[in-house]
Each structure stands twice: as structure tokens, then as C-alpha cells.
Symmetry: C2
């Protein structure tokens, strides 16, 4: 899922996103939308799809992660989380109940449970207590949703989130709790928060063995192209990450043959196309030398081009992964790709 | 001519520029290209068209205006202008001769004479001396060009520039000198530098009465939609201006019914299209409320949308002007449009 934090995948027109990158679904952030444009505006627009002009699927996170990572003076209690807006310092509170109401009003196709995302590293006792609170919050979310009809004439899927930091026993407990909720899809949170990749994979493996395989498994906030392939191998079906878009804006291009820092002088007079194998128009219409110049001259078109390239590459990667799973040679293809992509060009 | 200062119309993909805005020609700045990406890179690319992927016409200015407006420590002498780069402080010199060489190497379709653009207000004696130097520089440009073949397999048109500040007698002298050079097109410089619109129109009128009517007359650096219509009425055929792009990035939209500051709170819940009469995809795909949100959230997509809208509007305006000239009702159409556009919505 490309990330459209504030109702925009940064620097990409909706029609480019649809026609060139072609994802089935994008992610938007409840925390950001709640603060700006505010829920009342989204309601007047008839929901987020109409507001931003995007008629494919959208998933909203629950705002939990951003409350912990962005806002000042957050206070986590059983009732919910009090926080200060990072924009204007205004005070707000998120609870399992009002976050369900907010996500109903935003109107995404998939909405997420309100959870606490623990940091890395995390004290075992804190992780355990936090996990149990996340489970109690889940029950409150489900109970509240039952009495809260959808708003815009279509239903919303609801995904609960496995927590438990990097502790195997907690992850097992949490995965069992989440699997028992019988949701339409299940997510894994609290990873990709600074832990080594091997710890992430270990947790994914443990959890994927418990979460039902006939329902989508969503690993939140992951990751590099290699992270994505390794986690697909472990059973993950859905990802979201700011890496392809954020790193694009810093001049990093992902390709099937490794990463490119387009700001490097070596590309100054390389008049080859951005990515011969690329699937988007930018790959075929612009050269590396031109893109390098745009970054050097701080022209925003450079960020736009890099963003479209990276998102196009990520979509191609997961489409290829699906193809190789169906064809039965995913594992050997993955090994080859991981080796190939683990380079700096 | 949309302005693509550093080989990019800021925030607009080349294919959007071609398919949505559809200008016959764009402008790029010699001063900027000379400093970045540098002439050697453009030569290796096979000229600016290939470097930026733009196969329609390009005009480059002579760098004169930017030397005066952007660089530090410029020293104007008969020989040429010494200046410090505004990017890295490096020292350079522009002369009529090397600016012709630089513009040959950039490879635009129309190149401009090296001139001194006087500020407003300007002392009469300074304006007179400067005008005569600009004329001598013109002779040096023409002489040097005669021995300087074009580089990339096509010829370049050369336009000289009328100066003379806001003094009628100087403008007449200069227009006669420039008209006598027999160039393929002629430009008027030194206007739109802070003088009242009425003084600009007075100078344009005097000069247009002298410059041949069967060759394009190009008024440099102008202007607002109203300025453009008034100057078309006086005989101008070509314009370039950063207003539609620069003001777009500040949230100002030009429309046939007046200007919109999209940052204003009044647009917060206006879910009407950006411009019902607009010709580009952004006019039909985004609402004012969404665009207002993008500016409030500092999302770059807002600047992209506003830029495409404004450039589309400017192109529509000059196409309509051409149509009404041909149909013979330009004057009454212009009066109606000037009245209509002179509003803040």
C-alpha cells in the first residue's frame, strides 16, 4: 500500500497513482486526517474517497502509532491516550471508541484496531502489560463497532493488531488472542521500529503460524524491498511503508539490481533511462543525468519522478512475487532477487 | 511561454506540459543552465531538448536579467558583465560573444541578444548610456553569431531586445535600432520591473508602432492575465512570465472570473471543482476544498495542481485572444475579460 498520509501520496497525482503505479489499495493516516482537514470536512465531502478523488480501496491506521511517534506530551492510560497535536499544540484524546467513530467517518474500506505500539527495545514487563491492554482495547473496539453503522453506503473491514514486542511468548499469546477475534484480516504491529531484521522475521514467523492463512495478514510499516520478500516468504500478504516515497524524496531509487543514490556525481552524465526495466512513464521518459540535475538544482520534479519510480518498482516487486508463488518457484526467485537487490549501484 | 528556469517547469511533468497545457514553446534561463547542470553536460546530452525530454520549441534568454537580479557583486563594463554565482559564489563573466556560444550549446530554437536590463526607476542619462551599450552589444552578438554554426542539426532564430527604460524618446531610438537589425523576431526588455502598468503599456505602444508587424514581437517577463490582454491589444505576440507558476506555488489561482487565494478558509468546505471552465485534468479531478487542504497541510501536490491549473488558464487565455483577433471582436472581448478577471473571488 503506497502511503498517502494526509490524503495525498506526496507529489503524485491520483491519476498517476491509478494508471502508472496501479495499486489496489492505499493507506492514509487517521492521526493526520483527524487534525487536518478534520473529520467534519471529510464527512461533508462524503468520506475520504470523495474528498481526495480516489475510487479504489483505502486502509486507515488507528492513529496509535502516530500518537506515539509524532505528538508531544502523550499520556497512555487504560481509558485511552491524551496527546498534543504536533501541528498546533491543541489537546486531544484517542480512545478505542472514538477512534472507531473517527475511522467510520473517514470511511476507508479497511479500518484498524486502536493499539499501543511498543518501542524497541522494550522491557518485557512493559511489553506484556501493554499487550494485554491492546487486547482489552480490541474488545472495546469490537463492542463499539457493533453499534456503529457504516456511513457512506459500503461496509468497512476491521483488522485487529498483534503486539508483544520482540518476545516470542508474548507474540504467540497475542496472535492467538487476535486470531480468536475472527476478524476479516489480521495485522502485526510493533515491528520495523528499529529492531534487527532477523528479530522481525522471527516474530513474523511465529505469528504467521498462528494467524489464519485464509485471511490477509498485514505487516504494518514494513519495509525495504528485501524485507518485503522475506516476509512474504513467511506468510505476509499486505504491507505499507513510507520508504519508497520518503527515500525517493531524498534521491534514493530502488531497482531490481540494487539502490541508486541519484545525487551522486557519477550519474551526472549518465544519459541512460532511469530504469530500463521500469513500468512507469518516468522510467522511460527521463534519464539519470536529468534526474540527478533536478536533485542538484532542488527542483521538485526530481522528487516527483523518484517517487513514481519507487512506487512503480515496489508494485512490480509484489506482483512478481505473487506470480512466482502461483508458478511455484517463489523461493528460488526470492533468493536471486534478494542477492541482486542487496547492492548499491 | 511557460517558464522552465532550470530545465524544468517546476512541479510539472513534461508529458503533462505537452498534453494538458499544450504550449508551442517554453522558456529556459541561460544563467541557471550555465551554472547548473553546466554547458558541458547539456552538450553531452545533445542539447537542452534531449536533456529535459522536450521536443517542442524552447527559447533561452541571454542571462542578462538574472545576472542583474540574482548574482552578487556584478560589474557591468563595455566588455561584458562579471558576476558571482548565487549558488556557490564562483566568479564568471558574460560577454555578448560567450553568451552567443553558450546559447548555441544549450541549443534552444530561439536565442536572445545579450543586453542590460535597467531597473525602475532609472536615471535618464544612465538609461541612455545603457541603451547605447545594449545596441553595441547587439552588434557584437550578430557579428559573433555569423561565425558560429548551430550545433544540433537545426537552426536557431535570434531576437534582439529593445531597451530605453520608461523614456519614450529612448524607446523610439532603440526600437528603430532593433528593427533595423532585420532579425526574425524582436523583443522588448526592461519592462515589468516595477513600473506602473500604464507606463508599461505606453512604452509597448510606442515600440510596437516601430517594430515590424510581420515578425513576432516578444514582451519579456509580462505578466498578469490583464497585462497580457492589454499588451496583445498593443501588438505583442509572445510573452513569458513566472506569475502563473510562482503564484500557483503560493496558492493563487487565476480564473476567467478573478483570482482565488485557495489558502483562505472560505474554500475549506467548497466541494466544487477547481475551475468548471478549466481545460486541464486538475480542473476536473480535484475540488477547491481538497486543494485548500493540500496547501494547509503543506502537501506538494497542492503546488502541482495549482501550477497546472494556472498554466492551463494562461494558455487558454492567449488561445482565446487569437480566436477573437481572427473573428474580429478582440477589443470587446478583451474589455469584458479585463473587467471579469479584475476580481478576487
Amino acid at each position: 500500500m503506497p502511503v498517502g498520509t494526509a490524503a495525498s501520496v506526496k507529489g503524485v497525482h491520483q491519476r498517476e497513482l491509478r494508471d502508472e503505479i496501479d495499486p489496489d489499495i492505499i493507506l492514509s493516516n487517521t492521526y493526520h486526517l483527524f487534525l487536518r482537514p478534520k473529520i467534519s470536512i471529510l464527512e461533508q465531502a462524503g468520506g475520504l474517497h470523495k474528498f481526495m478523488g480516489w475510487d479504489r480501496s483505502i486502509l486507515t491506521d488507528s492513529g496509535g502509532y502516530q500518537v506515539y511517534s509524532l505528538s508531544a506530551n502523550r499520556k497512555i492510560k487504560e481509558e485511552g491516550v491524551k496527546f498534543k497535536s504536533h501541528i498546533d499544540g491543541s489537546l486531544h484524546m484517542f480512545t478505542p471508541e472514538n477512534v472507531m467513530e473517527i475511522q467510520r467517518a473517514i470511511g476507508a474500506d479497511i479500518i484498524m484496531a486502536f493499539d499501543e505500539c511498543t518501542p524497541y527495545p522494550c522491557d518485557y514487563n512493559y511489553a506484556k502489560k501493554s499487550m494485554h491492554m491492546t487486547h482489552r482495547w480490541l474488545d472495546r473496539c469490537i463492542k463499539h463497532l457493533d453499534n456503529l453503522p457504516c456511513k457512506y453506503g459500503f461496509s468497512q473491514a476491521f483488522f485487529p493488531i498483534v503486539q508483544g514486542s520482540t518476545f516470542k511468548d508474548l507474540r504467540i499469546q497475542s496472535a492467538e488472542y487476535i486470531a480468536n477475534s475472527g476478524a476479516e484480516g489480521n495485522a502485526i504491529g510493533g515491528l520495523s521500529v528499529g529492531e534487527p531484521a532477523e528479530e522481525m522475521y522471527a516474530m513474523t514467523e511465529v505469528v504467521c503460524n498462528i494467524l489464519p492463512s485464509d485471511k490477509p495478514r498485514y505487516l504494518m510499516g514494513v519495509g525495504t524491498p528485501i524485507n518485503i520478500l522475506e516476509n512474504i516468504a513467511l506468510g505476509i500478504d499486505m504491507f505499507d511503508c513510507v520508504l519508497p516515497t520518503r527515500n525517493a524524496r531524498n534521491g534514493m531509487l530502488f531497482t531490481a539490481h540494487g539502490t541508486i543514490n541519484i545525487k551522486n556525481k557519477k550519474w551526472e552524465n549518465d544519459f541512460s533511462l532511469i530504469d530500463e526495466e521500469g513500468t512507469t512513464f518516468v522510467d522511460k521518459e527521463y534519464t539519470k543525468a536529468y534526474l540527478r540535475h533536478l536533485f542538484a538544482a532542488n527542483e521538485y520534479l526530481g522528487k516527483q519522478i523518484a517517487t513514481i519510480h519507487n512506487l512503480g518498482f515496489y508494485m512490480r516487486l509484489v506482483r512478481d512475487a505473487r506470480k512466482h508463488i502461483i508458478e511455484g518457484d517463489f523461493s528460488s526467485w526470492k533468493s536471486m532477487m534478494v542477492k541482486q537487490m542487496n547492492k548499491r549501484l
